[in-house]
């Protein structure tokens, strides 16, 4: 029980708190009372509650105070406080019932699992904050701790991963996958700092609130899957793969200056110095989402945003398959060209064979490219249509010592502008497949080109190939085609030349002509590029 004097003191403190006039000294006094006296705590809550009830009248429906006295469903004013966007959906009764049964069953299963999970933790409270669960080909920075499965992390522990992939699990059940090269530090039970690297987080409901800090940002998970990239220049990318993420932009004092919620398929990039936020395309394949299942994996990502006159095109993936210009007569294609989709710059024009970017792939590097199941996507414009006699090459691979023809070519055909690819099939024959109708290329307009190849079943000649082209500033492809019954491709032979914007080192005619940006080679086919029903598409195109 509180004495009258204590009540009077509390009343004054609560009033000052509500009115915003509570001094620090009085705040400390109020805190002490609330923490050490149950009755004082109830008093504080009741006073706050009274103020809230008074305010509620203004929040819901400004009117006579004291109007709301019961909780009858949907009394007049309460609807004003419902979210504005409650959907109105038309569904058949039977479908609703089926969905309801499925939903109820799923919820029941989830609830059971959650109960068991919580029961387990209640009986055996975790003696750790984060557990190191798995590793694949992990290499640790010299002089730093090497972590192993079942190791337990405490606050302040750091992971300096040079290469490979590792998985962590927080005590609350969030799963974090880190891809090298990365540096991560645990600063709270559900809070990390990612200084550099690539991080994917899968956050179940009970772990919501998981927070990752980067040099410029603070990302708070509101459920359930997101990825982060912090590159060596401290540029931060946030990709929301499912659910909602709260993004906070921080100033140099690490105070929040902008907060926004990012939703599924949203992705942004933050520049380290200017703190400029740009919207980018979400690329789930940039992240390893599961160590136990095969998911699309980014093999190489040449943004082609390298500095003017650079002789190197940096690969942003962990494989570091940097490209270079020709040593002798090479001319840098980095000339400050403007780029599509908020990228800073592009490469180009690839006006001769001397502008191509290339790399000789070693024995270790060629197996990185899964030629059974892959995607190439890039932005390009202004192909060299006027030059007759040969194709305008975008992406190329050839080992001139082993083969007299290219092993793989993605190109656009002169004059007709049709997209095509040629490759060495498993019988060592070079075959080409070109889209079935001419394609116009509007001058100076960027196009997003996606090429996928799926060898399908182990049987020969049943591969599936898709092309799509989407102009910048539109969301719908202006060209799509699916080809089926395609031969299988021979795996890349080591010591060949991988080139962008041109073909082999000696071929003078095959070069793209215009500009290229954001080239990705992905093992597998991301969902956003998957063809749901190839046969239907093929029938439509025919």
């Amino acid at each position: 029980m509180l004495s009258p004097a204590e009540q009077e003191t509390l009343m004054q403190l609560c009033w000052d708190y509500q009115y915003g006039t509570l001094s620090q000294k009085d705040a400390a006094h109020l805190e002490w009372l609330v923490l050490h006296n149950d009755a004082a705590r109830d008093f504080f809550i009741q006073y706050s509650s009274m103020c809230a009830n008074l305010e509620w009248e203004g929040v819901v429906d400004p009117g006579p105070l004291g109007r709301t006295t019961d909780y009858e469903p949907l009394p007049s004013g309460e609807l004003n406080s419902l979210p504005h966007y409650l959907p109105v959906v038309t569904e058949s009764t039977s479908r609703r019932k089926t969905l309801f049964v499925l939903l109820a069953f799923s919820v029941l299963c989830m609830a059971t699992i959650s109960l068991l999970y919580f029961q387990f933790w209640r009986d055996q409270p975790p003696g750790f904050l984060v557990r190191f669960t798995q590793a694949q080909n992990a290499v640790w920075e010299e002089g730093k701790r090497s972590w192993n499965p079942e190791d337990l992390l405490q606050i302040g522990d750091q992971l300096h991963l040079t290469s490979g992939i590792v998985e962590l699990e927080t005590a609350s059940g969030a799963r974090v996958i880190l891809k090298g090269k990365s540096r991560l530090m645990l600063i709270n039970p559900d809070q990390f700092i990612l200084d550099e690297g690539n991080l994917f987080a899968n956050v179940p409901p009970q772990a919501q609130g998981l927070t990752v800090e980067t040099p410029t940002s603070r990302i708070v998970d509101l459920g359930t899957r997101f990825g982060l990239i912090v590159n060596p220049l401290q540029e931060t990318e946030v990709h929301v793969l499912k659910g909602i993420v709260e993004f906070n932009l921080l100033n140099s004092a690490r105070e929040t200056t902008i907060t926004k919620n990012l939703f599924e398929k949203d992705a942004i990039r933050v520049q380290p110095h200017s703190r400029v936020i740009t919207k980018i395309e979400a690329t789930p394949e940039s992240f390893v989402q599961n160590l136990n299942h095969e998911t699309p994996v980014l093999v190489a990502h040449w943004k082609l945003t390298d500095p003017d006159n650079s002789s190197i095109a940096q690969d942003q993936s962990e494989n570091q398959l940097n490209l270079q210009t020709l040593e002798d007569k090479g001319t840098s294609p980095f000339t400050g060209k403007s780029a599509p989709k908020n990228a800073l710059t592009a490469a180009g024009p690839f006006r001769s064979q001397f502008h191509k970017l290339y790399r000789k792939l070693s024995e270790e590097e060629t197996p990185l490219f899964n030629m059974n199941h892959f995607t190439i996507e890039l932005w390009a414009r202004n192909p060299n249509l006027a030059r007759s006699g040969d194709s305008d090459t975008l992406f190329h691979y050839r080992n001139t010592e082993k083969h007299t023809t290219s092993q793989f070519n993605l190109f656009s055909d002169d004059h007709s502008g049709r997209l095509g690819f040629g490759f060495l099939n498993t019988k060592d024959r070079y075959v080409t497949h070109i889209t079935n109708k001419p394609i116009k290329w509007q001058k100076d307009r960027w196009y997003h080109i996606v090429f996928t190849y799926d060898s399908n079943t182990p049987a020969a000649h049943d591969s599936i190939v898709t092309y799509s082209r989407t102009p910048e500033f539109t969301s719908v492809a202006d060209f799509q085609q699916t080809l089926t019954q395609i031969e299988d491709i021979t795996p890349l032979v080591p010591e060949g030349i991988l080139a962008i914007g041109g073909s082999t080192l000696t071929d003078i005619s095959r070069h793209w002509g215009g500009d290229i940006s954001e080239v990705r080679f992905i093992n597998g086919i991301p969902d956003r590029h998957a063809t749901p029903d190839p046969s239907a598409k093929q029938a439509r195109n025919h």
């Binding site: 509570l22 009274m50 305010e55 929040v59 400004p62 105070l65 309460e78 569904e91 603070r218 909602i244």
Partner: protein, 176 residues
């Protein structure tokens, strides 16, 4: 014809029943009305977006409180440190207690309407004005052509009277 789905109806029913409780809960953890309303709006959004995870028949209030606590946590993270005048333990203890005393606070709400009628007309006038959206003591003072200090004193007195009356009502058992 467009129809509202069963789940939507369920959400509306539950949310209508608990919305004022949710706001009250937020207000016990956030020290000013403007921020409390922002947290409340964010909470509404999250409640709706996550409603598919809510199991029909389970405790919507307890589920909502968990979401509120995360939203308040996020709000506090966004504030400068000096704005957080209390410790984490303080907020945690208050939240735990506010969650379980929800029924008592419901009764307080009924008592408020009784006690409000005991205020003078002038006090009612000031209270009505100050709890209008976007109102401040300054704006109320201008509207009522009184000094801000006079408004402050009237508000303080009215709150004291209301709270004392509510306490008496609850302890006398008149409302039950």
């Amino acid at each position: 014809m467009a129809v509202v789905t069963d789940r939507t109806t369920e959400f509306i029913m539950l949310f209508s029943k608990h919305s004022q409780r949710i706001y009250r809960f937020i207000r016990s953890l956030v020290d000013n009305r403007t921020d409390a309303e922002e947290v409340y709006q964010n909470t509404c959004t999250v409640l709706w977006s996550k409603f598919e995870q809510f199991e029909t028949g389970s405790n919507f209030w307890a589920w909502s409180c968990q979401i509120v606590r995360y939203e308040v946590l996020n709000y506090r993270r966004r504030q400068n440190l000096e704005r957080n005048i209390f410790s984490n333990e303080f907020y945690s203890r208050v939240a735990e207690r506010a969650m379980v005393t929800v029924d008592a606070l419901d009764r307080q709400q009924a008592a408020l309407s009784v006690c409000y009628e005991l205020l003078s007309e002038r006090q009612k006038e000031v209270l009505e004005k100050i709890y209008e959206p976007e109102a401040s003591p300054g704006s109320v003072a201008r509207t009522l052509k009184r000094s801000p200090n006079a408004i402050y004193k009237t508000l303080h007195k009215a709150h004291d009277l209301l709270f004392s009356c509510i306490q008496r009502q609850l302890h006398s058992g008149d409302l039950f």
